[in-house]
Each structure stands twice: as structure tokens, then as C-alpha cells.
Symmetry: D3
Subunit: 315 residues, 6 copies
């Protein structure tokens, strides 16, 4: 198991430890080949370099894999750098993914129990059958329990997708109580599955990244396909209900510009969209506050994605 | 009190009844002056005309006032028309505003009680003092109890502003439980006052219309000014708290394009914005379903404001 | 078969003929119920009314169906109107759909032969298997031969989808010769199937209309699902090839704002997009010229959809 | 008083001088804490570092304050760097703000005299009373005389706000002569106060920066509030005139996207908006020409804010 | 000369008068051909119809021409209509264009004298030679004296282009005094010629309309071509000066979206753009106030082009 | 002739070779003046520095010229740098432009023969005369044969404009066969001249850059002017044909936002626009694939201009 983290690497330290190999490039300088690497774990990233055995170590692992490394910490242009002497692929039993990826602060088991509890409140037998098919698909649920809710912006942590899914469902439950025309079961089912395509859109190797499918199809369509396949297995699933549920998935981004191929056209769809936005933004803002707020600091750094600073206020 | 409504006016009927005078225009046709009017009540609108005494009746009332009319129903180009013989201003005691304006289905007294109940949950003494100043301002609260939440799109009914305010507060209460960094009292106060400027933006005469202030300043700034004036009366209201509260009002539209002069820069502001959107859109969609859904009709008419049809689904 | 068309209906004429029932509404005027209808065929539309037996005839047919009507032509407000005495559903053998819907000027059989010829040029065995599965699906191909390419704007005629598909494939064939890096088989397959979802997006009853699926899912996603289902039936279809083909369908609108959930990310996708645009716009412009150009008229009427007039030039 | 400026700091020089402390950060390198600083004055900026006494000097001053520094100039990565041995807050009498901030080339006293001259041309007694209240508010005027017109883009210099205000008023005077329907007094008053909210939006410490209020409320609303407070003090200020004046302030950015909560709805408002734009852009372009034009150089550097180069032309 | 105007046509009146033939369409109703016309003059428009001799009168004149008409005023669907018995083309000497087209209130001779006065202030000999070439081109100046500044929105009246040109030049003269880096002669020349392409973009027949060139090339490019042709005739016109002047014409719309092919890249270009906007908008707002303001009316009708109402204020 | 290219410069190498002088700046460091340069050729760029004789060598050449350099390769901050001892302007006969600029892989003579072949297919005698005038203008054609199609994005190579022109013409020929209403000769002529203004927009010195005209007028207007001048020389060129041809040039960017002053208003214009887009994007994507695709690399680097990655697929 891992005991030393990137944030603790000081010049002069000898290191034998596991890291994620984030990037790998074979370069040449003045006729001599070397490997330029980037190592990381859940606490941060560090540049690394291999001068000897670069050809051999080049084949030792691919970017995205977790490796065991022997070397020592030096500095290059006054920035810490890891000089690597040995490197090999880690074995499954040697590592704990949680050491390399940020993770939800919540207990994954409890999160998943909550997911199943919400699922059990669905009374419509077709929708209930659908969510049962999902929860019975153990390999799918295995991935669901670990999946992040995003790559960088919101819920970018192991279990983040489950956290986000439950939060959206929670707001939708509230809304179902408030608006009498809402089909509660439809809305809750939509909340539970709206982002399920993200299981195919993000890879959870040593760090979170887009998959080819994530870029070429998008999580909205991947989710629609996944649910369509489950629906095909239910013999009498009503066509109108299938359309309405799939519409919830396809329209949940709220606008065409945000990659939904259709805009929300039902009251459930419009509620789901805003519940999704509310939780995504609340989590993103909260994450910035948690990681940047320090005593006396009233403003966050510039947040490029939303083109503004965030105000923390006086202490 | 009113007994006959626009929707019940059939050709041939003699009518002595109260209506809102929605429009009034003195015109001339072939040398003869006449008055072209539009009458209305909470059930609809009807064209009306005055041929005799047009000059005299022209001075009898202004558009927006409620009038007592004597005449009979004829048709013009196969559409019912009210031929008016007499018309005078109604007196206050003769009419019940609820006959002329659509109204919330909820009991206004209970709505206002709910508002005060939510207000009493605020523990921060400065914010509590502020909402107390508001509830102690009886003329303001009188207008609040009747004000619509909008002119046409959402909550366009007597008491609609209170309904909307409570719904937004309700979603914000839920959010305050979900996100631990949120300043609950600040968020709830923001929810209660975010649209208070609408009291100055809409006139509630015989029908809902924009006031000059509503168009020239906008409800966002009117609300900011109103709260600023109350804050001025509280001796030790913290400057940072005032900024954060006013920021909630000013940024609640969420984007500059939607008439907020600043974008949300606090976690409370971003939550308030989406809670506001969720309730506004859920109400607007619900209203369209309630007024347009009939047996076998699966789609609404075209909704110009959001450029789409709304799906009702199969019966 | 049909002999009398809407454009030939003159006041006074007695009529026993087939029409599409485009709209149907049961209304009441002064205590008397009547049916307000709209009839049409490929030559135009006419208002119609039923005064006697309105309750009974109300059940005779639904909007979108073709009916046999007995009545005579009168005028209402100086516009021709069809007064209907009898109305019943038409039987399949009595009618020829081509009398009611605009149709391609090209021979549908030859169009479809062309489609199969292009399909046979595909050499990649997986893609060839896929298009074979499509052409072997006779009910799908039956619908493909009749489907319009759009509701109003381009190729809005029976066989229009096939015309458009072949034109796009033709431009793509040219492009495949011009750009050496292009995967020709992939591009041609993409061209052949890019709009196949429109089979589920438009209804071809008495006139072209959107289906519920067309509005709630959109033709882009419907096409992706349809192709995914066919791919599932091919045992060794390479995953990377499936991604690239589905990406062609999903991205062919070119921009998120135009309802593609992803933007073109391969050279084939970017070519397909512009080939699609070129043919769609060339057909739309050509259609306007054909229907509006008359001697001495240099400009079209205003074309709202593209916010401009079209110039025909001097004769 | 200051004799040595940043632009004159050469390696090897011993320095005892006043600078603005622009940034301050306590960092740790290899177990040793140090202070990373940025110093500046009206001629430029220089990095600085404190190795000894870093903890103690950390408390000596805050970013934004003016400090007296003892140290000497070295280089770091070939860029000049100031190694600081001693640092203390400057006292008010030791410094002249004009040494640290760029300033208008015009005489501040004359600028302010001009402002009062324009104010005295206002004949409407209510508007005249209002501007009198402003000029009688000596602490406000004190800040007005020094305030910049912007942080970076236009009139970013001491006295810049006054320069800009007078230029806008000057164009408005011209317009009032040209367009006969214009209410001259209203327009001139609007010109004089349109940017007065910037007094609360920018801090004029050692350098120009946004205040919390500047970011959370925006200068448009701050100006509206300030004028509203003055109007409250005038007993018979006509409501319609107040609306029109405040509308000038609120709409002067011209578009919602540019942070005006309402668009210009009066002829005075539309004129004020373009007068404001004309002067702002003319000053920004002029500033770039003045600072970048050298012999033989025909084009400016890329100007990111307006996404273009500026052409100087041939010499 | 014309004595009777459209606004004075009452039912029953016999009419022998000149009108603009605005539209002409040969139609058939129930087997009988008739001409549907629209007549107009500077006071308004009226529908007209020819029942007898429709074939013959169809060839009597084309839309856009001025005709002499004999007929009488009737009503159709309660709207006045002119029944035409005779119609022929008007002869040049019979008519005064000012009767048919709205015209500037200013004396055209004085306007043109002003134009020449401004032109004479240009000292740069190349630019002076250029404007001299323009004023020496008598047929061009003849058209300039009558040309409108727009079709509908601003300065849409005879002489309007000259009015607008002088107003823009006037603001630019003011700006040249204010900003010391400005090349005054360049800016004033740019102001004088910036819209000269409109001479080719609008036809001034019986009413203002776009020419084919106006639509296909646009007034910006037409102006650039016209000035380029004049510059070609001046032997030693400096290339850099020509570029800068043509840049003023091409960029004066200020943004690509507004049909300038380049954005303003010189200080003169940015000033010209805003001077142009200021005058165009001030005239458009003024025109709406002049034509719509009546006693007690505080707001204009909806102004579609700028998506707002205009506020007149209290009387 | 050149034998050593930038990509081959290794530290320690002595160099006597020709390079493009891309940038030149006289700087001062610690009281000593030096020249900071950038050298380049078709294989890449390298920083260079002159310490001795900097004043004298400063006058030796200007940025954009090709120079002969004597020096040796050193490193600065671990990046290769060329230390220059001598530098002089190259003479015309010493150099081959193809050594300094990327060039089309196609034979320039054959490309130009193709251009003339296409030109000879034009049958309309006016258009044929026009293209003959172009091909007879030998200095123009000389520049056409070398001109790039763009600065950075597509066809940025010697002969690139001709390649692009022929590709667009080729797609237009295909379209002319497909759409029967198209005026083939007009469309092909439009394709051949649509980008001819680029001859004046890009300088082809040592590297591709915008000319002043390219920035101040834009290639669209430069092309329109060039063709207008040729048309002026043809006595009976029909006015309507001239308008239609110039409209093709002016509208070929397709949208105002993309710097066309008018949108496509003819069927030929809309086809030309999409043919242009198709080829430009296909070339840009192809170029990225050719320069970035390596074994095992499935995705391109981020392509900022189109805000996406490009997918290469599996090997």
C-alpha cells in the first residue's frame, strides 16, 4: 500500500513508491534519448525523468497505468523533479485505487444503499422493472459505484456520479411533492438514470479521462442507448413511457448548445434539467471554496470555465 | 358583485355587469365618431363598441379601470361584440378584484402565514431584523399578498408572487440541508426577497401590466433599492452581509442577458438562481398543461416564448 | 382514384371526392355544434364545414386520414369553402397516396436501384454487411422509398429522403476521390444512413408531420439507435468502426446548436456535414425558384427560415 | 518623496525607496519559508523576495499598501529582482500618490472646475439641486477628483473618471444642440453622473483594483443607489424626472450583455450610451497608440479585449 | 400638381389624382380577372381595385411608378378602397416627387451648401482633391441631394442621407477637437463619404426600395467601389491614405454581424462608427417620438426592430 | 542553395546558411545592447542572438527578409539558440523560396494547367472573356501560382490557393451536374475567382503574413475590387451578370459573422459557399492528420481554432 504522496516529496528524498503514470514521452536531447514523464496520485502531480534505460523503461508501462517507481527527488529549474531509476507496472493486489484518485467523502456502500432505497420507492411496475434490471446488472453497478460525475468541473471524484445522482433525485423528490401534475415515478427514474451514460464516457484508470466513446458519442447518447437496451428486455414496456423516459435523458442538458439533441418538452424534463444544474453548480462552487478558501482570503482565483471569481466573504 | 362572465356572453343577451376596461380608443368612421373598447374579466376578453354618446362616455373611465356597463351582445363578423349604451366607473365597494383577475388557487391568508413562518426560521439577528421590518410594513405586505409573479408567463395571478416566493424558499431550504457550506439564513432571506422589486414593476389594476418603473428600472434594481432602504434603517447591519444579500437579489436572473447586472458569485447566489428557474418553469409548464390539455390531445399549442411544443403524453 | 383537386374547386360545384382531413375541430356557435375542418391534397388546402350530423361525422375520421366527401363549394367571407354533407374514411384500395402528397419527380424504383448500386460499391465487409442488413429489411426499405427528407424546408416530398441520401452520397464519392486520407467505405456508408432516423421522425399519413418520437428524441438519435440495433446483429463488427460510423450520424448536423450532440471530429464527419448542407440548401433554393419564379419577377418572397430574399436574376 | 522608479532599477543598485506592495505571498521551499512579493510604481512592476525575517516582514504590510523598502537589485533567471532586507508601511506625509499611479495629463483642479462649470449650465431646478448636492458633498468630490475611469482599458489613471465624464458631457452638449427633442438638462445631468458608481467600484490604493462592491453589485447599480440617496434628500423631486434620470444611469451600458439591467428607452438614454462608447473607445485606442507607436511600427500588438490589432499607419 | 392626399380619402368621394402605384397584381376570382393594387403618397397608403379593363390597365404602369387615376372611394370590409376606372402613367412635368415621398424638413439647397462648406475645410490636398471630384460629379451630387438615409428605420426621407452625413460630420468635427491623435482631415472625409454607397443601394421611385445592387453587394461595398474609382483618377493619391480612407467606409458598421467586412482598426474608424450610430439612433428615436407622441401617451408602440417600447414621459 | 535546415541544428554546430529573418528586436540588458532575432525556414524556427556589432547588424536586414548568417549553435535555458556573428541580406539568385516556405506537393505547372483547362470550359462569352483577361495578366498569374490559401489554417503553403481554387471548382462542377437550375458557367467562374483577393491579402516574403490591405480591407473586398476592375475593361459585360458574379465573391464566406458583407442570395452562391467550406475543412483536417498522426496515437492535440480534438482512430 502507498505511504508517500506527491505533496510530501522533498528534494533529496529517496523514493520507492506507487504512482499513476499520467504522461509518457520519449524525447531526444543532443543525441541522447530520455523519457519525460508525469507522475501523480490523489494529492497532486510531479514531473519525472528517466535518463538511463530510457528505451527499456519506455516499454514498462503506458500512460494511465499505475507503476512502482524507484528513484530520488531532485530539482530542475527550482521545481521538484523525480529522477527515476526503475519502473514497473503495479499489480492489482499491490494498490488501492483510492490512493490515486480523489474520492467522495461519503461511504460508497451507504451511497449505493441510498440509491437502492430511492429505486424502491418507484411504484410504476414498468419503471420499477427497469431500475431492477439496472441494479441486477452487477458489473454495471460495480462501475456505477466508482464512477466520477465529471472529469474536472463537478463531482470529479470516485463515487461522485452516485453522489450527484442522489442529490438530483433528492431535489426531484421535493419537486414531485410541490407540483401536482408531475409524474413522480417518471421523474425519479429519470433522475436516477439521467447521467448513466457517463459510465461509458469516462475512464477510471489512474486518473479520470474521456473515453473515445465519451468524445465521439457523448454521455447523453450513451445513456439513451444503455436505457434503450434495458427497455428492449422488458416485454410490455409502454411505448409512450419509453419515449418520455428517454426524452428525460436526452434533454437533461437543457439546451442544444449544451449537447442535448432535444430541448425539454415535458414538465418532468424541465424540472430534471434545473435539478441537475442546481446540484452540479452547487458542488462545483463548494469544491472551489473547500480547496481555495484560507483565512483572510475573500475571493477565489479566477475560474475560467465560468468566467468569474467566487466570493468567500469575510471570515 | 359580478354574476355574468365574458365566457358566458351569447348573442342576444342583455347585459348589466362589471368589466375591466382593457382598451379604449376614440375613432372616426365616415364622419361619425365612435368608441372602440375591449372589456374583460378573469374568464376572458370581448370587443365592445359605443356608437351613441361616444364623446361623453369617452370621459367616463380610463383603460385599466373597472366599469359598470349596460348594453347587449351582438355579433360583428360572426364574433360576439358588446354594444354599450351606458358605462360608468365602478365604486370600490361594488366589486371584488378576484372577479377580474386570475387568482392563486391557494388561500392568500395561508400563503402569507407560510411566508411569516419561513421568516421566523431565520436566526441571524440582522437578517431577522430585516425581514421583520418588511413584515411590519403593512402597506408593503398588503401589496405583496396580491402581487402577481409575472405579467404573462409564470405565476401571472393574484397571490402568484407569494406562491413563487414560498416555492423558491422551499427548494432553498432543501438545498441548505444538502450543501454544508451554505449560509442557510442568508439563502432563505434571499429567497424571500429576491423578487420583491416586482411590487413596483407590475400594476394590479383591472389587469396586470408593467409600470413605468418596471420598464425603466426593472424589477431587479427596484428590489435592490427597496432592500437597501430597509437596511439603512438597521443601525449595525454588517456591510459584508448587506453586500452578500444584495448580490443575491441582483444576480438572481443568473446571466447578464437575462437582466441581472452581475452574475452569481457566491454559492448561495447560484443556488437561488436555479431554485428560481426551477419553480418559474415548472409553474409555466404546469399552467400550459392545465389550460390546454384535453382528452386525446398529446401536444400543447406552440409556446412562442420558449420556442417549442409541450408534450402531455397519452391519456 | 382522384380526379378533382383543391386548386380546381369553384363556388357552385358539387363535389364527391377524396381529400386528406388535415384538421378537425368540434365547435359551438350560438348553441349549435358544428365541425370546422381543413381538407387538402397535393395541390393545396380548403376550409370545410359540417352543420348537420356534426356529432356523427365527428367520429367518422381523425385528422391525418384520407376521407371521401360529398358536398358542394360555397364561399365564406369571399373565400371558397366546402360545405360537407357526408364523410367517411377512404379504403386503402380507393386511393393513391401520390394524389395527396407532393412527390419526387424521379422514378422511385430507379432511385432505390441507385441506392442499392451505391451500397454495392462498399468493400469493407463489416460495413457492407450492415447496409445489406438494411436493404434486407423490406419493411424498413418500403418506408425509406416513400419517406420525405423534411417537413417543409428541403426535400419535403415522397421519395425526398432517398433523393437527398443519393445526392449526399454522390458528393461524398467525389470527395473520397479528392482527399486521399478519407476512408471511402466509411464515408459512403455514413452518407447512406446519416438521415435514416427520419423514417421514425416523420409521419407520412395524408400529409407530412412530426411523430412524437421525431420531437422527443430527434432524427439524429433515432438514426443512431436504428444503426446500433443493426450493428448488434453483426457478430464481429469492430468497436472502433462502430464508433466512427455512429459518430458520422450523430455529428452530421455539424454544430450542437443544430441538434447534433457532438461536433464532427473525423475528416469523414466534416465532409459528410458539408455535403449534407450543400444538398439540403441547393434543394431548398431550387424549390423556391421552381415554385416562385415567374416572368419578370427577379426576387422571391421573403424566406423567413433563412431571413433573406432569393435572387432569380433577369429573365 | 520618491526619486527612483522601477524602470530605472539596474542589477547591483542599492535601493532605499517607496513602492506599492502589489502582491504578497508567504511560501516554503525545501523547508525554508520566504516571502514572494511584487513591487510597483507608476513606471512599472518588479518581482521581489525576502529570505531573512520573512515571518516578521510578512506582517509589515498588506498587498495594496505603499511601503518603504531597503534592499538591492539582483537578477533571477536573467530578470531583475529586488532582494528586500527591510520593509515598513509608508506614512501618509512621506508619499505622493501620483508617484505610484498613472495620472491624467490634465490639471485636476482645472478638470474639476470644468465639471462645475458644466453643472452650472443646468437650468432645471430639480436637476440643478441634485448636482449641487453632489458638489457640496466634499468627501465625494474628493474621491471623484482622483478616481480612475477604469481598471485597465480606458481612462485607467488618476483623474480619468473626471476626464471621461467631461468628454461624455461635451459630446452630449453637441447632441443637445443637434436634436431638438432632447431634454438638454436631463441629458447633461445624466452625462455628469452616469459613471458615479465607479467611486465605489474601484479602490485607489497603491494601484487600481475592483472593490468587493464593484464585483458584487457593479458600478451601474452603485451609481443608481448613490443618486437615489441624493434624490431622497430633495423634497419635491418629480417622480417622472427621477425615473428618467435613473434610467440614464442604469441603461448607459447600452445592452443587457454589457451589464445594464435595462436597455435605453429614451432618446436621451440612447445618445448618452453612444457618447459614452465613443469616448471610451477613442481613449482606449489613443492610449494604445501613445504607448506602443514607435518609428516604423505600423501595427499595435494584439489587443485581446477587442480581438484585433490597431493600425498606426505609415510614419 | 397634387391636391388630394390619401389621408383625406372618404367613402363616396370622386377622385382624379396622382398616386404612387406601390403594388400591382393581376388576379382571378370565380373566372373573372381583376387588378389588385396599392396606391400611396407621402401621407399614406390605400388599397385599390380595377374590375373593368383590368387586362388593359395592367399594362398601363408598373409598380413603383406614379400614375394618374380616375375613380371613386368605396369601402370593402369596412376599410376604404379606391375603385379605379382609368389609370395612366404620370408625366414628369405633372408631378412633384415631394408629394409622394416624405422629405427632410430642411432646405435641400442649404443642406448641400453645408456639405460643401464642410468639404472645403479639408486641408490635405489628396483628400481635398477627392471630395472635389465628388462635388464636381454633378449627376452624383444630384442623386446625393435627394437620397434617403435608409428605407424604413432612420433618415428615411428625401434629403435624409445628406442630413445624416452632415450630422455624422458634425460629431466627428467635435471629436477631432477632443482627441489630439486624430487625423482630422481623414476623419471628416470619412464622415462625408461613409454612406455614399447608399446612392446605389436605394431606388427613389415612387417610394424608397432596395435596388438589386443594394441587396446583392450592400451599401458598404458599393461605397468602397465608388471611392476606389475616384481615387484611381487621382495620380499621386498615397496608397496608405487610400487604405485608411477605404477602411473607414468598410468598417463603419462597427461589427461583422452588421455587414462590415472588417472591424474598425484605427482611431478614426472607431470614432466614425460611434458617430454614425449616435446620429442614426437619435434620428430613429426622434422620428418615433414625432410620429407617435400624443397628449397623455407615455409610451410608443412596440418597436420591433429594437425590441422595446420608447418612453415619452409625462406631458 | 540551402543545405542545412532548422530541424537539423544541433548544439556545437558551426553554421553558414540562409534563413528567413522572422523577427528582429534591438534590446538592452544591463547597459549592453543586443539583437534578439528569430530565424526560420520551411522546417521550423529557432531563436537567435547578436551580441557584438548589434547596432550595425540591426541595419543589415528587416523582418521578413531572407539573410545569410554566420554563427554557431549554442543552448540557452536548454533550448538551442543560434549565436550570430555575421548577417547580410540574401541576393535573389542565391535562394530558392521553396526552401523557406512550405509548398504544395503538387506540381505548380500542372496545377496552373488545370486552372486554365477549367477556365476553357466556360462557354458564356462574357465570363470567358473575364477569365481570359485574368490569365492574360501574367504578373497576376505569377502571383496566383505561388499564393497560399491561408496564413495558418488551410492550404497554408505555396501553391495552396491554386489547389484550393481547383478543388472548389471541382465540387462545383459536380454540383452543376446535379442541380438543373444552376448556371454552370457562372458557378465555375465564381469558384475560380472567389478567393482571388487573397493575392493582395497575404505577403509571401520569407513567410506568410497578412498585408496591411489584408487586414484593413479583407480578402473578400479585395477580390471584388479586382474583378470589378477587369469587368470595367469589357465593354458589353451585362450588368446583371456582373452583379451575380460579384455577389458570389462577396457572399462566399456564407455569413456576416465570417466577414461576408452579404449572405448568399442565389443558388450558385449557396453552393459555392458550401463547396468552399467543404474543401477548406477537409484540407485542414487532413493537414492535422498528416502532421500529427503517429503509430498508436488515436487523437490529435487540441485544435484551438475549432475547439476540439480530431480522432485518428485505431491504426
Amino acid at each position: 500500500m502507498k505511504t508517500l504522496f506527491v505533496k510530501d516529496l522533498k528534494p533529496g528524498l529517496e523514493v520507492t513508491e506507487f504512482f499513476v503514470l499520467r504522461k509518457k514521452e520519449l524525447k531526444e536531447y543532443d543525441g541522447r534519448r530520455f523519457l519525460k514523464l508525469e507522475m501523480g496520485d490523489r494529492s497532486g502531480r510531479i514531473d519525472a525523468v528517466v535518463w538511463d534505460n530510457s528505451d527499456q523503461l519506455h516499454g514498462a508501462a503506458e500512460a494511465g497505468e499505475i507503476v512502482k517507481v524507484k528513484g530520488w527527488v531532485t530539482t530542475y529549474k527550482e521545481v521538484p523533479q523525480l529522477k527515476v531509476d526503475k519502473m514497473r507496472r503495479a499489480k492489482g493486489e499491490e494498490i488501492n485505487l483510492a490512493d490515486f484518485l480523489p474520492a467522495s467523502e461519503k461511504n460508497p456502500k451507504l451511497l449505493y444503499d441510498d440509491f437502492r432505497s430511492v429505486a424502491r420507492t418507484i411504484e410504476n411496475r414498468h419503471l420499477r422493472r427497469l431500475v431492477d434490471l439496472l441494479t441486477e446488472d452487477s458489473s454495471l453497478m460495480e462501475r456505477f459505484r466508482r464512477a466520477p460525475g465529471g472529469k474536472l468541473w463537478h463531482h470529479a471524484r470516485l463515487g461522485g456520479l452516485l453522489e450527484h445522482t442522489l442529490a438530483v433525485a433528492s431535489i426531484c423528490q421535493k419537486a414531485a411533492e410541490m407540483y401536482d401534475l408531475v409524474d413522480r415515478d417518471l421523474l425519479i427514474t429519470g433522475a436516477l438514470v439521467h447521467d448513466i451514460g457517463k459510465l461509458n464516457s469516462y475512464s477510471v484508470g489512474g486518473f479520470f479521462d474521456y473515453t473515445d466513446e465519451g468524445r465521439l458519442l457523448g454521455h447523453v447518447v450513451s445513456g439513451d442507448e444503455l436505457i434503450e437496451q434495458k427497455i428492449q428486455k422488458i416485454t410490455d414496456f409502454p411505448g409512450d413511457l419509453a419515449l418520455k423516459l428517454k426524452h428525460l435523458i436526452l434533454s437533461h442538458q437543457g439546451q442544444l448548445e449544451l449537447a442535448s439533441p432535444v430541448v425539454p418538452q415535458t414538465v418532468e424534463a424541465i424540472i430534471l434539467h434545473y435539478a441537475d444544474e442546481l446540484d452540479a453548480k452547487a458542488d462545483a462552487f463548494s469544491h472551489i471554496i473547500k480547496t481555495q478558501k484560507t483565512k483572510g482570503k475573500k475571493w477565489s482565483d479566477w475560474v475560467r470555465l465560468i468566467d468569474r471569481f467566487i466570493y468567500f466573504g469575510e471570515d
